[in-house]
Each structure stands twice: as structure tokens, then as C-alpha cells.
Symmetry: C2
Subunit: 227 residues, 2 copies
């Protein structure tokens, strides 16, 4: 048995969280700061500014907007300082447009278990109301119908959020920790050459979406052209 796969053959980036008994959490919803939250599935807005380099085509940046659904574990401790929370990105759809590239739709790679963690930095464990740090490893699909191509990453995209004073960190800015260039591959030729690079990523978590807003954003993703 591989050390790196789940029982159903996904590549695991971290802890597996069962989503079977988790309630969906929708907006409007208040979040208590510095308080370990009840478990659930956060339905949140998200925006992201992603920069790419495509050999032969050049560099460009796309502004994406969409939603994420994040399953959260029960906190490991009742107090904020010691509580660790494990997360799993179970659904994502962001849509953006670039000149010459057209619409790009970003979703999760179903072959990858995108997981993460919120915890107090080791150096702040003596504080009573420390700001937490959040990290998540993501496997994504970047679908560009106008180019008839879908790109994906093999090394995970590591998303981090610092200065977390509430869980979920709605409204916080975050950074994709990309050093220079993260290779992207062509889904039609996954063992083939590097097709493009992700060169930068800055995102911001939005607030809780209403169930209606989530449904509309999901429908927009489903309406987006496939080829």
C-alpha cells in the first residue's frame, strides 16, 4: 500500500477528513473571533489573481472569481491557542478571462486530495490570542476552452493565509507559495512535456455565501464551455 494514496486511489496531501456528517454552512453567518469553531462545510466566496507563463505565448495574469467549499474538522482543543483545525477543499470553481486565452475555469483535480491545516505558529503558543497560520496544498485543473486545453499541476499549489483571527478566515488575503515557476501539464498528455508555468498567485477569501449564491456560482461553472 502506498504511503501517499487514499484508499480510493487519490494522492493525499495530508489528513483525510470524512465529510459524511458535516453540515453545510451558508451566509449570512457571524464568525466568533479567536474561538475554535463548530465543524462543518464552509461555503465561501474567493478571488484570486494568478500569473502564468506559457512558453511561446508569454506571461499574463488572470483575475479569477468564484467559490470554494471547505470541510473543517472538529478542533483538536477547546481553547483557541492550542486548537488545530484540519481542512479539505472539497469543491472549487473560479472563472476568469484573459486576452488571447479566453475564459479559464479553475476546478479541483479529482485525482488529488487537497488538504490543509490551521494552527498557531510554534513561536506563539505562549500567547492567549495568537494569530493562526493556515496552509493548504491544492491540485487544480485550469480549463481553457478557447485553447481546447486543460492544464494541471503535479506538485501541489501551496496556499497560505497568515494573521488568522477567526475560522474560517473570511476576508483574509492569502499567497500561493510559488518559487519562480510551478510546472503545469496538459491533461490530454499527462506524462508529456511541461505545457506552462504558474508564476504567481495572490488570493483573498470571501465571506459566507448564501445557498442561492453558491447554487448560482456552481451553475455558472457548469455552463462554461468544455472545449
Amino acid at each position: 500500500m502506498s504511503t501517499l494514496l487514499t484508499h480510493d486511489g487519490k494522492v493525499a496531501s495530508g489528513l483525510i477528513i470524512s465529510t459524511d456528517e458535516l453540515d453545510d454552512l451558508y451566509g449570512p453567518r457571524e464568525v466568533e473571533p479567536f474561538t475554535p469553531p463548530p465543524t462543518g462545510i464552509d461555503n465561501l466566496g474567493i478571488t484570486s489573481s494568478d500569473s502564468f507563463h506559457v512558453p511561446g505565448l508569454g506571461s499574463f495574469t488572470i483575475e479569477f472569481k468564484g467559490y470554494v467549499r471547505v470541510a473543517r474538522s472538529t478542533p483538536t482543543a477547546p481553547d483557541w491557542t492550542n486548537a488545530e483545525v484540519y481542512t479539505r477543499l472539497i469543491e472549487m470553481c473560479m472563472i476568469g478571462t484573459a486576452a488571447g486565452v479566453g475564459k479559464v475555469i479553475v476546478t479541483l483535480n479529482p485525482d488529488y486530495l487537497s488538504t490543509g491545516q490551521l494552527r498557531t505558529p510554534f513561536e506563539d503558543l505562549g500567547k492567549t490570542r495568537p494569530e493562526k497560520a493556515c496552509r493548504m496544498a491544492v491540485g487544480a485543473l485550469f480549463r481553457a476552452p478557447q485553447l481546447s486545453r486543460t492544464l494541471f499541476n503535479k506538485e501541489p499549489i501551496e496556499l497560505t493565509i497568515d494573521n488568522v483571527c477567526a475560522i474560517p478566515p473570511a476576508g483574509n488575503p492569502g499567497v500561493g507559495r510559488i518559487y519562480r515557476n510551478l510546472p503545469l501539464y496538459d491533461l490530454a498528455d499527462p506524462d508529456g512535456p511541461i505545457a506552462a508555468y504558474l508564476t504567481g498567485l495572490n488570493f483573498a477569501m470571501g465571506v459566507y455565501l448564501t445557498e442561492k449564491e453558491l447554487t448560482e456560482l456552481r451553475a455558472a461553472g457548469e455552463r462554461a464551455p468544455v472545449h
Copy 2:
């Protein structure tokens, strides 16, 4: 078929390089600077200073010393500026010691295909003798016989080397691009909780080893206690 696995079920971090027809390259050996090198398997020394945090045990740093064997592809172009070289770490053994932890032996996780790339940064493609940048995604096993534990990472450890003027970049310092804390898991309970964190990594590539030196370092790794 998963987008993220090789045909034999390893998790692939990048391009697969066949090692079937590659010659082993040993020292003493001169490397021509700013010149795309002939393909082969580099047998190189390596040192690494790795910092860990183990909840309940604290933080410590271990100085490792050992070897790597790196398969290199044929450069994609005959000129230095445009040549890309793909790499695969096919063997590694580093040994270090820490007070209270004892000997720690670092090897490759056989479930992970640790691969990388050397290329000219996009902004330097107009230069005639640019310094290249090297990156490699590594899946490792950290075996601590005195603690009867072997730890491993699920998210790859991303090793980077900048200012590369020769391939291989013998003597260059490198950095593990770890943001705050990379979770490590217990090989005996791979789906279980996070066991420790890798919090920092600074390494330096050594020069070509002679075949005798490689054999001795490999034997030292094989002599190291298992439990």
C-alpha cells in the same frame, strides 16, 4: 488512469526520465561552465541542515551529510540559454545525529517520483550566459532508529538552487522552500495524525564522488540500524 501517478503507481512530481541507458558519472570530473552537459547519472556529495519541530519534544536542527544520485535528461537545446534539463533523484542517503533523537537517516520515499528541472528564468532568456535556476520536488523518509520511527512528507519538499553556472551545480548552496511548517507523518500510521514538522532546510551540493566514495557512503547507510 490518474493524472498524478506513473504506470507503476508512484506519485509523479514531474516528468519521468528513463534511467535505462544513462551512464554513471563519478569524480574526479571537470564540469564545463555555461555548457549544456551530456546526459548521465550524477553521483554527488550533499550536506543539509534540516530543522524540525516535534510537538511535545520541541525544535532541533540536524546536520546531515551523504550522497545523491541524480539522473539528468538530454538538454532540450544545444545552447546554454535555451537548454532545459530535467532531473530525477534516483537515490539519496544522508545521515545526521541529534541529542535525544539519535541517528537520523534520510532516504527517498519509494512511493514518490522525485523530479526536477534546470532552466533559465524567463526574465533572463535574452542573456547569453544567464544563471539558471534549479528546482526539485522530493518525497523523503526520515528514519530515527532510536525513536523507532520513520517520518515522511506527503507534500513534496521543494529544493531550489539559484545562480547555477554549471550542470550539475556542484558546490552551490540551496534552499528548501518550506513556508513555516511542512507536516511529516509516521510511516507506521500513514493516515494518522501529523507526527512532526519540517520547519527549515538549507543544503549544499557537493562535488562528484568517486565510485569508491559512493560505495562507502551507501554501505554506511545500509549499516545504519533499522529500528
